[in-house]
Structures are given as structure tokens and as C-alpha cells.
């Protein structure tokens, strides 16, 4: 925790200016987005100051809405012409960015300071080849260079960032690359003109954990080899831990804490930083965490979030400053506040009495070959849900389809698993591993192409839609995207009440009362029944989604990446809510996530998926502490750690491989 900065290779590039002349100097920066369409003006950045020395690396960390990305864009004055008001001074490599004429600014952009964006796919022109795009940028800044030379330069840059067979791949368009390769290509574009500063705005957020590690390693190597300065903007404390010298923690447009990475992460001075750190799920800790310190900051985080939504474009009027975004009302059911009784249903619980919940892991997850149920299962009776040999293909089907040529892809192949009553099964894997498809098949949102699905002894897989409908309520799902999972044109209360109304048999007053109870149960004010989804934050929407899933009284809840779209503090609260509900209601849960730490904290058993198959499964501690499959091992090794020292060790280990 006390590793000195000196552990970073200190070989300063020869041409770097004297330390007295900083590469980036930001003084009293304030950015205000004007009021639009009913929204108030938003101050996204408020009196921020920092410097970055040549060749140095600074991480800016914060939750969504903290203003960190706004700062990054301001270094190239990308807000120019959008109506945003910027005050203060920003100097990059000696240029006064905010005052510079258009031509000077263009010369700065890309040549002196280059930016790497979060989503490499949308950040590249889909219609031109990568080589052309890089060459174009190069020629803009080196007007004398011939077309051919620029192209050669592009190939060189692609080669430099580790794209194999660069000469050929330079002719490919972005969509022909994988996510990681695209991000490499974007970095290659940034390198094309040998800039003195790289600005990386959430460069790895869209990537899988193993790819993330590769990209961070690449950035590190480049920085050490070329002496380029790095400004890394991220929400992930684990990412900064291994990549930068200094950290600036931002909240609500202001700097909360600023200092060397070892100090800020190792011995944070500010409560907010501490809360942030505490909220990060630790992969090394077993489940059943105690309540943590982060909760106290949730409200403020919310406020900042609202500010950001306004700031992002000032497009959505009503969100900013609405009551929904103000501190939540004190209610009896704040899940964050206390641990409710563990083994009995609450009297006001609108759902049916829970099955006794205190059970250990009993589910059996089989790998490929369906195992006959062993003694482990027997003493708990039949499993709640049992899937055998599940397979799912996409694309055109039918016998004709196979004749006409196979444009079918297999998303899930021969997956067998069981979920016992009251058990939480974690399902982890990287993007494209098929975990979401499995989840949707378990609740029959997707029909399996092959395999059997048995729920409480009934064959669920072959039931028709109509026959399935009465059973639907017992198998519910919490979705990943809190935006698309709620109908924007319906009040949240009605969304929650929808399953009750669909089931029929209840009068309107009862339906509304139960829906209000459910809202309260997930920690929302029942008075918000008549509000619309756009008035709520991501975490609140996820709570609404959970309330809706609870409404029909399910036995099994499939949670598909329930927290991946949320900030770390919110994430923790939602996970706590889920854990509490599971205990109280005796629910079985299938938790699908890419975040290994989240899964460990919440699951009894875990199954690791890769390319449509389960490669390893077992009790959660066994798998995490003693991974057997090389893929699981690699996955665990790639998870960023908060300790800069450990991060450096791991990087070294990865480099050796």
C-alpha cells in the first residue's frame, strides 16, 4: 500500500520539457451547460484544477455524473460550438486551449494530444478501412506526407499496438474486428502522430475483463516506451490502480481527493473515497458481507448523477432536479438500513410465504454430461428447475434452412444445470459466452432448440405459450438495462401492477395497494406510483424492475446482469436488496453477470460459461479459490485489483506468459 511512484519506470523521454513546464495545466475550470427545453442550466465541472507533468499519468475517477468525461473533452475543447460555457484556463503542451483559434486547436487535436474513446466501434467510421482512417488523420497533421507513406505509417501504428498481420488488416473495416482489436486500432490512430498526451476516456469499460487487462497493459507499455503523458478517465478504481501515478477523485464536478495512487487507494483521506472503495466488490472475499460504509453517500451520488444526465446534452428536461432525484424518503423498508428478519416473511409482504430459506448450496450444476442426481440433491428433494442438454441456435431454421446453407449459429450448446429451492446460482462468462441466452431459456423467453427443461417436475420446455402462461408468474426475470426494461409510457406503479392485472381476479384497489406495497418493499416511496420511469435514476429503475418481478410471487428469479449498468455504490445496494429478498422470500436466484466479484459475493454455486458451454462449476468458494479450468484461471487473473503493488505484479506475470 505504500509503493512509491518510483516503481514506475522513471526513464523520462529526452525531449520532454522540464518538469516546471507541465504538459497539462487546468486552473479553476468551470463548465456550465445551458438550460434547454425546460431543464435548468447544469454546472458539470466546478472550479477544478490539476496538472500533469510530461510523461506522467493521471487517473480521474468518479461515478457517473461526476464530470470526469467533461473534463477530458475540455482538454481538446470539444465543447466548442455546443453552447457550453467554459471558464478558467486549460493549457495543453503550452497551448491555451480555450482561447486558441480554430486552426491552432485543430493542430493540437490528434497531433499533440490524442483521445481514445470508450466505445471503439461507434468511435470509428464504419465505412472506411482502418488503415485509411489512420492515414487520413496522419495526413491532416503532416500535410507533406504522401498517401502511400501515410498508409505505411498506419500499418506501422497498427503493428505497434499488436495487431497481427497489420498490413492486411489495415484494409479491413471496424466491424470486422473484435472489441479488443478495435480498441487497439483506436489507440493506433492516437499514436499515428506521436502525440505527447493520450487522453483515454473509459477505454476499457466496454471490454471483457481479459481484454481489459490486455489494453491496460498495452497503454502501460506504450507510455513507458514513448514517454507519452496519459490522462485516464474511468469509473473503475481497479483500472486506475495499475495504470497511473496520480489519482483525482471527482464528485459532482469537484475534486474530492487528489494524490499519488498508492495514497489515495491505500489510505484514503476523504470519506467519499473510502465509501467508493468499500463499495467495490472484492473477488477475494467470500459472500455474506456486512453492511458497508458506502451507503451514506448514495444520495449525493444520485444528485451528481442527475447533474450529469442534464450535462450530457441537456436533452432530457424533466430529470434534473426532480423530486425523484432528491434524497429518498425515509421508509420502513430501506434495505440498506437494516438486515430484516431472516427466516420469516414480513407480515405486510404481498407475496406468498417463503419457503424456509436458510439452506446451503444444494444446486447441482453439471458439465456437459447430465449427472444423475446424487445424494447431495436427494436430501432436499427434487430440484426446482432442471435443465438438461439445452441448446439454442439462432438464424434461419427448419429443414429447408439446412439445405439452403447454414447461416445458423449455436449460441448455447449442451448446457445442463439445476437450481434448488432457495439457492443462488451464479452464471459467469465473458460477452458472447451465451449466459444471457441460457437465462432467457430458463424462463422460456426463448425456446430451446434442443434439451429438456423441467420445473417442479413439469416439462416446461415443450409447453405451448398458452399453457405456459399460468406458470409464467413463478419464473421471473430482472433485466440488465433499466432503461429498456420499463415501458417509458407507463407509470412505474402500473408497470409493477401489470403482472397482477394480467393475472386477473383482483379488483383495482387491491392491485394498486399491492403494487404500492411492492414499491415500498424494494425501497421506493409508494407515493411515486404515478411517476414515469424517466424521472428515476438507474438504481431506482432497477428496484422498480425487481418489484415488478416480485409481483406475481415467483419462486425463481433470473437476474441478468442486474447491476452492470450501475455505479459501484448503487450496485452494492441493489445486490444487498436482492440478497435480502432471497433470504426473506426463499427465492431461488440465477445470477448472471460478467463481474466475477459480484457473483462471488452473492452465489452459493457458480457455473463458468465460455462459447456456449459450461466449462466449470461448483460451490462458489471452491471455484474461485481453486479454479481447475485454465479459462477460469485466466479470467480470475485478469480481474483488476485495487492494490497498485499487486496490480504491477500481476501485470509482470501476464507479460511473462
Amino acid at each position: 500500500m505504500t509503493a512509491p511512484l518510483a516503481t514506475e519506470p522513471a526513464t523520462e523521454p529526452a525531449e520532454a520539457p522540464a518538469p516546471a513546464d507541465p504538459l497539462v495545466e487546468v486552473r479553476d475550470l468551470t463548465i456550465t451547460f445551458p438550460a434547454t427545453g425546460g431543464a435548468d442550466a447544469v454546472r458539470a465541472v466546478d472550479g477544478l484544477s490539476f496538472t500533469l507533468r510530461p510523461g506522467g499519468a493521471l487517473g480521474i475517477v468518479g461515478e457517473s455524473g461526476s464530470g470526469k468525461s467533461t473534463v477530458a473533452a475540455t482538454l481538446l475543447d470539444l465543447h466548442r460550438g455546443t453552447g457550453a460555457r467554459t471558464e478558467g484556463t486549460v493549457r495543453v503542451a503550452g497551448t491555451d486551449v480555450l482561447a486558441a483559434p480554430e486552426a491552432d486547436l485543430r493542430a493540437l487535436r490528434g497531433a499533440t494530444a490524442a483521445m481514445i474513446f470508450q466505445d471503439p466501434l461507434s468511435s470509428l467510421d464504419p465505412y472506411h478501412s482502418l488503415g485509411d482512417q489512420i492515414a487520413e488523420v496522419h495526413r491532416v497533421h503532416r500535410p507533406g506526407v504522401s498517401r502511400r507513406a501515410a498508409r505505411a505509417r498506419a500499418v506501422e501504428a497498427l503493428d505497434r499496438v499488436g495487431i497481427p498481420d497489420a498490413a492486411r488488416r489495415a484494409r479491413s473495416r471496424p466491424h470486422e474486428f473484435s472489441g479488443g482489436m478495435r480498441q487497439r486500432a483506436l489507440i493506433a490512430m492516437a499514436l499515428a502522430c506521436e502525440p505527447r498526451l493520450l487522453i483515454a476516456d473509459e477505454p476499457t469499460t466496454a471490454l471483457d475483463v481479459t481484454v481489459q487487462a490486455q489494453i491496460l497493459d498495452l497503454l502501460h507499455t506504450l507510455r513507458t516506451e514513448t514517454g507519452t503523458g496519459l490522462l485516464l478517465v474511468t469509473h473503475d478504481l481497479g483500472v486506475v490502480a495499475g495504470s497511473v501515478d496520480d489519482v483525482l477523485v471527482m464528485r459532482g464536478g469537484r475534486a474530492v481527493e487528489h494524490g499519488p495512487v498508492t495514497e489515495v487507494l491505500g489510505a484514503p483521506r476523504e470519506p467519499y473515497t473510502r465509501a467508493l472503495l468499500a463499495a467495490v466488490p472484492r473477488i477475494e472475499t467470500a459472500r455474506e458481507r456486512a453492511a458497508h460504509a458506502g451507503v451514506a453517500y448514495e444520495e449525493e451520488g444520485r444528485e451528481a448523477g442527475a447533474a450529469r444526465r442534464g450535462a450530457d446534452a441537456g436533452r432530457r428536461g424533466p430529470a434534473a432536479g426532480r423530486p425523484a432525484d432528491s434524497p429518498r424518503p425515509a421508509g420502513p423498508a430501506r434495505p440498506d438500513d437494516s438486515a430484516p428478519p431472516a427466516d420469516s416473511a414480513r407480515p405486510d409482504e404481498p407475496v406468498r410465504p417463503a419457503v424456509p430459506a436458510a439452506r446451503t448450496a444444494v444446486a447441482t450444476v453439471t458439465d456437459r454430461v447430465p449427472r444423475p442426481t446424487t445424494g447431495d440433491d436427494d436430501h432436499n428433494g427434487a430440484p426446482l428447475l432442471e435443465a438438461r442438454g439445452l441448446r439454442r441456435e439462432f438464424g434461419r431454421g427448419g429443414p429447408l434452412g439446412s439445405v439452403l446453407g447454414g447461416d445458423r449459429t449455436v449460441a448455447v450448446d449442451d448446457v445442463s444445470l439445476t437450481v434448488a429451492a432457495g439457492e443462488t446460482l451464479g452464471l459467469v462468462g465473458e460477452s458472447g459466452s451465451g449466459k444471457t441466452t441460457v437465462g432467457r431459456m430458463l424462463v422460456r423467453l426463448l425456446d430451446p432448440t434442443a434439451g429438456t427443461l423441467r420445473y417442479r417436475g413439469r416439462d416446461l420446455g415443450t409447453l405451448g405459450e398458452r399453457a405456459l402462461r399460468p406458470l409464467r408468474g413463478e419464473l421471473q426475470m430482472v433485466f440488465q438495462d433499466p432503461v429498456s426494461s420499463l415501458n417509458p409510457r407507463r407509470t412505474i406503479g402500473e408497470s409493477v401492477a401489470d403482472p397482477l392485472r394480467a393475472a386477473g381476479g383482483l379488483d383495482d384497489a387491491t392491485v394498486v395497494r399491492r403494487a404500492r406495497e411492492l414499491l415500498e418493499r424494494v425501497g421506493l416511496d409508494p407515493a411515486w406510483y404515478h411517476r414515469y420511469p424517466h424521472e428515476f435514476s438507474g438504481g431506482q429503475r432497477q428496484r422498480i424492475g425487481i418489484a415488478r418481478a416480485l409481483a406475481p410471487g415467483p419462486r425463481l428469479l433470473v437476474c441478468d446482469e442486474p447491476v452492470s449498468a450501475l455505479d459501484v455504490t448503487t450496485q452494492a445496494q441493489v445486490m444487498d436488496l436482492l440478497a435480502e429478498l432471497r433470504r426473506d422470500l426463499g427465492l431461488s436466484v440465477v445470477l448472471i453477470a460478467h463481474d466475477l466479484a459480484v457473483v462471488r459475493a452473492a452465489s452459493d454455486r457458480v457455473a463458468v460459461m465460455r462459447a456456449g458451454r459450461i466449462v466449470e462449476e461448483g460451490p462458489v468458494d471452491t471455484v474461485y479459490d481453486h479454479p481447475q479450468h485454465p479459462y477460469t484461471q485466466g479470467l480470475l487473473a485478469a480481474v483488476p485489483v485495487l492494490d497498485p503493488e499487486v496490480a504491477a505484479e500481476r501485470r509482470a506475470a501476464r507479460a511473462r506468459v
Partner: protein, 329 residues
């Protein structure tokens, strides 16, 4: 890709089959008897019956339809009185009006319609995309408003007015252009273009507003995309961003719409063709409808149907080619 082509072809054939059934059914309910028409107004019942036999219209409609289908596969033979006229497969039959095989008739009209359609397309693309781009760049300004009103005027004015106005101004009053007649491209390319300029313009004026609006919105949409931000962040000037990247991004929907429009245009721009005396497919179709010339109507409708369906498929393929992110299913 092969599967895609096979699937689309299968679908297209089905569509065409349905189309032919629809036309036969319509023919059944539509007024006018081809035999009476061919025989002449002063024929008596007996003569009409003879002509009906001669036109092979004596049988019930479903049987006629079966013969039609058979003819598509095997061809048919017709008596000319002095000999036999063989109509090779795929035989759509003989025109009641002039006893020519329909396929031959359509083939002779196709170059005219193709000339008209392709030239008009070039013009409406130039006019529409140019206007759209300009108004996207000058959005909110006076230029945009003027351009919008101008292109919309084109849309709001029926062809029979636009065309006559153009003729009056350019051919009669100013005499800058000849009154259009169709000169085959193979005969004299210069005269071909010169003669078709007004018909092209007439159609382009009608269509360009659509393209202007499409280009404008697609360009604005592309300008809001992330990769445009990338190029701004890399110091590219605005002109280059719009010209090279935004326009390219706006192209796919334009290309897709264009393929479909072109296909429909092959169905014939009948008002334009009539006005300018161009012996194209559209006019043939309309004439045949009026004269209850069933074989020609069926042939023309199938031809147009094929063009539209083909255009739809081409639109999808072009879209996929233009926008590599889309896959064909």
C-alpha cells in the same frame, strides 16, 4: 449469401405467381370484353364467338390461367391464319391488340423505360442529395428554407403540369431543347440524352424532395454519431468531416430508397411517358388495361412486379454493402 439469393428468389417467384392470379381475378371483374373489342363494334354474336375462340378466350378463366402457366414453361403456338406463330417459353401469350408475343413487346419497350428511369435517377440523386446536404449544413437558415420550399413544390405539382410547363418554356418559347422523341442510345447517345432531358427533369423534380429530406436527416443523424466526434477530436476540419464521413454515412438509406424507387420506375412513369410520347412500359401497361389486353397486362404487371421485387432485394443487398454492419437474413 447463396442461401439468401435462393430464399429471395423463392419469395419473388411466389410473389409473381400471386400477382398473376390477382391480375387474372381483376380481369374477371373488370369491364370490357377483349373479343368484342377485337372484333369491332358492329360484330354480331356469332363473329364475337369466333374471335373469342381465336383469342383462346373460350374456356373458363381458371382453365385459361392454367394454359397461361403452361405456356410459361413450355411456350405456346398460335395460328396467324396462314401459318403458325411460335411463342417460345416463357410465353406470356400474344397481345390481343397486335398479335405480338408479349415478351417481345415488353422487350421492345424496356429500353425506353430503362433510359427514362436511369437518367431520371441520376438527376434526382444529384438534385436531391445536393439539396439535402446543403440544407443539412445550413440548417435553420434561409438557404434551407428556400431549398425545402423548392423541392416540395416539385413534389406538390403533378407531373402533367410540370411536364407541360417545361415543354412550353424550353421547347416552345425558348426553343433550347427539341420536343422529346425517343432516340435509342445505341443510335445516337447525344440525341438520346438531349431528347430525354425534359422527361428526366420532370421526374427528378417530383422525386428529389424525398431524397433531399432523406439526405438531410440521414446526414444530421450521422453528424451526431460518435465517429464524427472522433474525427473532430483528431483535428479534421468540418468540410472534410461532412464530405468524407457524414455523407458516406448518410448514403445507405439513400441507396436503399433509390433502388426501390428505380424498381418502381420500371413499372413505368406512365403520365410522363404519355406526355412526352415515350413508348415505354408504363404507357403500354395503361393502354393494355384500357383495351383489356390481358396477356400484356399480365406480362407487364409481372415484369413490374419482378422489377419491384428485384429492386427490394437489391436495396437490401446494397444496404448491406453500403453499411457493412448489416447482415442479410
Amino acid at each position: 449469401m447463396t442461401a439468401y439469393v435462393l430464399r429471395r428468389t423463392g419469395g419473388a417467384l411466389l410473389v409473381l405467381l400471386l400477382l398473376s392470379v390477382a391480375v387474372y381475378a381483376l380481369f374477371y371483374v373488370a369491364p370490357g370484353d377483349p373479343a368484342t373489342l377485337a372484333c369491332g363494334p358492329r360484330c354480331n354474336a356469332e363473329q364475337i364467338a369466333q374471335v373469342r375462340d381465336q383469342l383462346q378466350l373460350g374456356e373458363p378463366l381458371p382453365v385459361q390461367y392454367l394454359h397461361f402457366l403452361q405456356g410459361l414453361v413450355t411456350g405456346r403456338d398460335y395460328s396467324t391464319g396462314t401459318g403458325v406463330l411460335h411463342c417460345p417459353a416463357p410465353c406470356f401469350g400474344l397481345s390481343y391488340q397486335n398479335d405480338q408475343p408479349v415478351a417481345q413487346l415488353l422487350a421492345s419497350r424496356l429500353p425506353v423505360t430503362a433510359s427514362l428511369a436511369v437518367g431520371a435517377m441520376v438527376l434526382w440523386l444529384l438534385l436531391g442529395v445536393g439539396t439535402g446536404l446543403l440544407s443539412a449544413l445550413r440548417r435553420g437558415g434561409a438557404t434551407e428554407r428556400v431549398l425545402t420550399v423548392l423541392t416540395l413544390t416539385g413534389t406538390a405539382t403533378p407531373v402533367f403540369i410540370t411536364g407541360l410547363l417545361l415543354l412550353m418554356v424550353f421547347c416552345a418559347t425558348l426553343q433550347w431543347l427539341p420536343f422529346p422523341t425517343y432516340v435509342p442510345l445505341t443510335e445516337d447517345p447525344e440525341q438520346w440524352a438531349w431528347n430525354l432531358l425534359l422527361p428526366w427533369t420532370t421526374l427528378a423534380l417530383l422525386e428529389s424532395a424525398k431524397y433531399a429530406r432523406l439526405t438531410r436527416s440521414a446526414t444530421l443523424e450521422t453528424l451526431a454519431e460518435d465517429h464524427i466526434r472522433t474525427f473532430r477530436a483528431y483535428g479534421l476540419c468540418e468540410r472534410r468531416i461532412v464530405g468524407r464521413h457524414a455523407l458516406r454515412g448518410a448514403l445507405p438509406p439513400v441507396v436503399a430508397l433509390n433502388a426501390v424507387d428505380l424498381g418502381t420506375m420500371f413499372g413505368g412513369a406512365m403520365l410522363t411517358e404519355s406526355l412526352f410520347g415515350l413508348p415505354g412500359l408504363g404507357r403500354l401497361t395503361v393502354e393494355s388495361v384500357r383495351t383489356v389486353d390481358l396477356p400484356v397486362v399480365v406480362g407487364a404487371v409481372l415484369g413490374v412486379g419482378a422489377a419491384v421485387v428485384l429492386a427490394g432485394a437489391v436495396a437490401d443487398v446494397l444496404y448491406a454493402l453500403a453499411d457493412r454492419r448489416v447482415t442479410l437474413t
